[in-house]
Subunit: 278 residues, 3 copies
């Protein structure tokens, strides 16, 4: 696909999503759960969050796309996440995982490992997390596995381009897409790999910039599929953040302004976005 | 009661609440728990949230009014909610339930069923939820039961007026009040039924507009009783939302502006509100 | 130490923290968890929140400082908090406790009692909570124990100066610092006791003003130690709140403005702060 064709598909995805307001349920961390829901609503979707196994299974049955974020795990997740992921896989549903905090505690490793067999449509994370998942799933050579310097809590210590091979390997394995967030963002379906510019220095200063991007990936994947969905979400985030930054005097006011800009974004903003095919 | 008399009682309730700052504890979902607390504070109340059985019971003992929201259930709720509701009933306390997400999972159905025997003072929900509770509690004829098209996740697919009979049936059963939220809002104590106009198209675009209204119903019920409390909360929400919408450029900035307007609302705003007796 | 020397140390702590962006994990309540994280980021730190025992232990191993807040307890905390506190103590880590809601339920009393043996570096709370901890830990005479009128939910019914002896007793016991929040704020290491002026009447009207101050105490303690860390956090909060109040029309817009001001605060703002040695 050419750049213009890709951007046109993203603009069409934006229009279709706002018309359909797809229900995109989440199992997500309590730190940023409110921001995820508000970002999904601003992006044109409908949100619903749950914790219990049968609720995850139920919503996996009739959703536009599902978002699973591995932050702030609760004991019940040991049952909820495998059952929900199995239901999503069985229903051939679109779903997104966000392996936040990979490396902290044993349950997270176990659950992200468990996700492998169910092949999530989109994997979204920072560079350290994407390298971490590819390593955990045995998709990297030993050489490449040793490249990552690991995460610092929930923050990346790796650069986005360092995660390129890991992202492509994951996308080829799942047959879906992978989105790596950082100063520059990378989205790939294993064949086409796109770099996205824009965004704002305020994004890493508000908690949940990444989590809410994952939730919004689900919203656009419901109407655009994995690759176009992940890319639309990334472009929307970069364009909205650039705009909001211009008139925000700090990270506090940046957040509501950013939600406003997601809500007010036009298809022209997407069609004129700056992307690079690599 | 005449319109003017009703509105005067609501204005008095606002004044009394701000003076008393009643403690209104909640057991509520993690998505909107912060917004619920901030709305309760802006409305003139004091907030405290808990999850554990003995904490719910303890706070049921000395509160102005209690708010129970059935979203994002945790395993411990199976014990916490019945014990807390029993304590509220025993203490003859004012309390509000918000049956959000009714239809998702088995525990929610079980817990909302359990609430029946304890007769909550106020039931607040969207049209689909109110019809759902009335159906679950066996208060509707089969004909009426079949009217609802059900919820889409946590959103209503029914119109407010379609829930009128269900709302009246519930209020007559509990001896309290029911508030149905939507484009127009309905508040009834079974005898007097009021339609409230105003609000904002931004309200459904911020997560927790309904949940926080439930929390604020508790705040005003602490000083005004069930019907006046539910109506005051609804009028405050409609007036504050109309004002905030005028200078908000999207749902992101609408939320903080809306909280400001709740805080700054005057008794005149309530005395001049547009209501309709039906 | 003289006033000027103290303020200079706080200004140096601010500069050092922004350079180091210390990772300050939290186990904290779900009501204000988002605000805690955003305040920590605005203050110059990095945030990560967890609930599970091995995750708390893991993060206790490599953190700048750790924040433990006793609000919205979950059943798993019975294991998570003792194991995390033991790990922090063993690692000689800096950590902060916030005994919010002390008096509500049995688990909170048990866990705050358990914290005694591990001697947290900073205890932050309102006057009622600080008196409550000192009483629970057996550090007050019977006379002084009877002074407190107790908390109203999560709000204080005591004045800050009433908690002076309790705060000093706690600091002498732990060898760390204690910060008491209220209209005037008190910070002590048992030897030096400082009163801080400033702040805003909007602070008690936004949920989590206290919780997020606790999280920010951890951020500055990571670089400045217990006393300077607690005092820097308190001064930052007072200065940022005073500034934000000037152009906020209510508690809704005050919150994002307040975060902006924390982010934009200068060392000059700290060097010119008004404190009183008592």
């Amino acid at each position: 696909m050419e750049k213009d064709e890709i951007l046109k598909k993203c603009a069409e995805c934006l229009t279709a999503t706002r018309k359909a307001t797809p229900l995109c349920p989440s199992i997500t961390n309590s730190v940023t759960i409110n921001f995820v829901a508000n970002a999904q609503l601003a992006a044109g979707g409908s949100a619903a969050m749950v914790y219990l196994p049968d609720e995850g299974e139920f919503l996996a049955g009739g959703c536009g796309a599902f978002y699973i974020n591995f932050g702030t795990l609760l004991p019940v997740y040991e049952e909820t996440l495998p059952r929900t992921m199995a239901a999503l896989h069985k229903n051939n549903a679109a779903w997104v995982i966000d392996p936040v905090g990979l490396g902290i505690g044993s349950m997270r490793t176990k659950l992200v490992s468990c996700a492998k067999q169910y092949k999530p449509s989109i994997i979204r994370g920072n560079a350290s997390e994407i390298i971490g998942v590819a390593k955990l799933w045995g998709l990297l050579s030993e050489d490449e596995s040793n490249k990552s310097s690991g995460a610092k809590g929930v923050d990346s210590t790796d650069e986005v381009l360092d995660a390129k091979n890991a992202a492509i390997a994951l996308a080829n394995y799942t047959g879906g897409a992978v989105a790596v967030s950082g100063k520059v963002d990378l989205v790939t379906d294993g064949k086409t790999t796109v770099l996205c510019h824009g965004g704002s220095a305020f994004l890493p200063l508000i908690t949940g910039a990444g989590c809410s991007l994952g939730g919004v990936c689900a919203v656009y994947a419901a109407c655009g599929g994995a690759f176009v969905g992940a890319l639309t979400a990334t472009l929307v985030y970069n364009a909205a953040a650039s705009k909001a930054e211009k008139y925000s005097k700090g990270p506090g006011t940046f957040q509501p302004n950013f939600l406003d800009e997601i809500y007010n974004l036009t298809t022209t903003d997407l069609e004129t976005a700056t992307i690079e095919l690599i």
